[in-house]
Symmetry: C2
Subunit: 463 residues, 2 copies
């Protein structure tokens, strides 16, 4: 993308309404604009990141064998009366009356609707196990929306639902979700720690929240410091294997890690003092097993192997996709702006032309642009007729991990400059070498998305 | 995908509430389930098609230089009061009051919101031309929703908005949209004819609707039969070229083609009688130029080259993405089910195992599955233990363009059967030959999406 043809309305002033870094930086980098309290338009740069996160979530869910679908935003109140939850949500539920005076609502979650689909179409234990999920806009009418997309009213969320014949099978689904979530967050450059949590209005006997440590987090958390050394990494996993998924759950949840809702001083004090930590965290996901809580009132039963009807065991599993954009920025920024992890960066590299209009510099930038594009990477070329200082400030603010700086002086010596946004370190090298380095840097990210050989795979086949 | 692990709840009975083929077939093929009147859940197969259409729209819009972003579904009433349209929409607008008693609404379209973004961020003619678009859920509270997704209440739509300094520039944007829409529909296997139309509540001096001819269409249309011979085809176009875009507009709109809203018998009668046609059509898109209708009341001005403020010239341009799923089926089905065009099919080929459990047949199916997958194609393998007749009926119903049938008898002679859904013709050939043919068939579709070389392109870079 050439910046002269893009829409990137960066702000010079820091907006006064923004209290935390991610909110400030998303506004300043031209990623979002508030439409109403707690409701945002995603400007092109913000939408690009949101879409990348969405794709990562889709890929990891499909890898785990979960099936994508899409439920609507507006639901009928009837199903919620049937489950008994119509009043539970209180004023946070956006209630709507349509032109025929029917009670509707903007879905804050989808246990009722998915259970209704299940009971209409699935009748036999032979159709289990089944996990369906979608990524859809939701609405919670927060009394005091704040922190930008971190606590908005309209938000984008992945929610998935498993249907199993027994508690044992449902707990395998629970573990499978835990594994897929660990992979998902790591691909986004985040460490999200599963912590024992409280069920809230969803309910549930087993539930873990995934928390990203950050000073601005809303939750107080307590954990054994050993847990931050754990990485899922590149290990291969068979999602059908009960043992493998169970082992990952044990590895990642056996140490003390709880939110304040479930914190227990007595147990915590058994952790050696040097490893006891309290900190703040941002919740970016939660998994639940809640048994037959919805299947019983809603009549979601299947015929078991013995011919008798059995209410299915369910769980639900959420990832806050729009919130993650903010969480990633909270975890990765400095005083000059955002620092995108390579897995989610909106553009792979920035190209800064120090002397727009200089024939040689222009040609070198165009050649770099063409080479990166031919590799399947997306560069952002700042081709505006602006001073170098302004171009650098914009690149730092929007946080692309790598910048190539091209100027007449360097070109005389046959070099351009490659700069890491994270370390600030620069290195001069021939343009071909810079391309080669960037291709190398992104190769693992390309590989990690390739479930099948990428050679002839086109994006229109991915879903 | 293996059918035993998928969620494809096909119905044997024809649902009585469905009056038209697409609605019936989408229900029967397990693509959608009604959640409330005019509001649908997209089951996995339906969601897959919806997502393919969405991706085609994104690709063609980006190819034309238009910039993707995303506006929210819930809007404040204030902006609509400012534009004077709050009352225009009447009861079709879903009005909502939030917990703080603020008037909100579920956006039926986004002229106000996009203009608000524009006026907040763009100040100079140097930032023009600019075209922003998004694909987002919309709501129109139809009094009698019907025909499934063709006239639903919650629907998925691409709407784009151009901002230009002059009428002349804005008309180039209009033409550019027309070209990009022609390409979009052809990639979906549709012929959509641009017809002179009426502005309706959007307004506009220039507007064309795109109509797909179909008996079940809601609009009566009148046209010169020569128009149905036109194809955009594989021609290259420079979207920056005023001349090239204008030439396409003239080619596709100079013959008589109007909806009943703008039909004029006198002009129509100038078409030679043998070429005069009246028929029914399904509207799948509309483009508008409406000058300063929104920029003036909302104060969307830029500083012109002479330093004076100028209200920008705008247009808006929509494609009904969810409606297109129905329109494609209306245009392409038979008594046995859907017939997907290759560009939008949810799976590229079906594999039918005539004797599940037979070691040789199972192995041959697995090998075909692996080969197609390695080519970047997505097969749907019916690996259920069912009779051949049931498997064929399901494949015909869900409409995959190609089916490979594998059975012990054929394998003895080293052959499988390749069947075209469209023609019903079957041919026996060795499995490798079937793979080769399918790879050839889909090669143009792969090519057509490749703006850049596909070799190393991964889907996480596409947006």
């Amino acid at each position: 993308m050439r910046l002269s043809r893009y829409f990137l309305p960066v702000l010079k002033e820091t907006p006064s309404e923004a209290q935390i870094a991610s909110h400030r930086l998303m506004l300043r980098a031209g990623m979002i604009k508030q439409a109403s309290a707690g409701i945002y338009s995603w400007l092109p740069l913000g939408f690009k990141v949101l879409r990348k996160l969405e794709n990562i979530v889709h890929e990891e869910q499909m890898r785990a064998g979960h099936i994508p679908m899409l439920m609507p935003t507006i639901q009928s109140a009837d199903l919620w009366r049937e489950s008994g939850r119509y009043d539970d949500y209180g004023e946070e539920m956006l209630r709507i009356r349509d032109r025929h005076d029917r009670d509707m609502l903007y879905g804050p979650t989808n246990e009722e609707l998915i259970t209704d689909i299940f009971r209409a179409h699935v009748g036999s234990y032979k159709d289990l196990p089944l996990t369906l999920y979608h990524i859809q806009w939701k609405f919670r009418d927060e009394i005091r929306p704040r922190f930008g997309v971190m606590r908005g009213r309209e938000f984008y969320m992945k929610d998935g639902y498993n249907f199993d014949l027994s508690k044992e099978d449902a707990l395998h689904a629970y573990n499978r979700h835990l594994v897929s979530y660990l992979r998902t967050y790591e691909r986004m450059g985040l460490q999200a720690i599963p912590m024992r949590a409280d069920g809230g209005p969803i309910g549930g006997d087993y539930t873990h929240e995934f928390l990203v440590l950050a000073e601005t987090g809303e939750s107080e958390v307590f954990y054994d410091s050993e847990i931050t050394d754990l990485r899922f990494g590149e290990r291969e996993i068979d999602y059908d294997s009960v043992e493998q998924c169970q082992a990952v759950l044990e590895e990642f949840t056996s140490r003390y890690a709880r939110t304040d809702e479930t914190h227990d001083e007595v147990i915590f004090n058994e952790v050696p003092e040097a490893r006891r930590r309290s900190a703040r965290g941002i919740e970016v996901g939660q998994i639940f097993y809640f048994g037959t809580k919805y299947s019983e009132p809603l009549g979601a039963t299947v015929q078991g192997p013995d011919g008798k009807p059995v209410p299915v065991h369910m769980g639900s599993h959420g990832i806050g996709v729009s919130r993650l954009v903010g969480a990633i920025i909270e975890a990765s920024h400095d005083e000059n702006g955002i620092i995108w992890p390579e897995g989610v960066t909106p553009f792979h590299a920035g190209i800064v032309n120090l002397k727009q209009g200089d024939a040689e510099a222009d040609a070198a930038c165009e050649a770099l642009y063409a080479s990166l594009t031919a590799l399947g990477l997306e560069p952002l070329y700042d081709d505006r007729d602006e001073r170098a200082g302004g171009k650098f400030a914009t690149m730092d603010l929007i946080g692309l991990p790598w910048r190539i700086t091209v100027g007449p002086r360097g070109l005389k010596n046959g070099v351009v400059e490659l700069t890491s946004r994270k370390t600030g370190e620069s290195e001069e090298m021939p343009p071909e070498k810079a391309i080669e380095k960037i291709a190398e840097i992104y190769a693992p990210h390309h590989r990690s998305v390739a479930v099948e050989p990428m050679a002839q795979r086109s994006f229109h086949t991915w879903l």
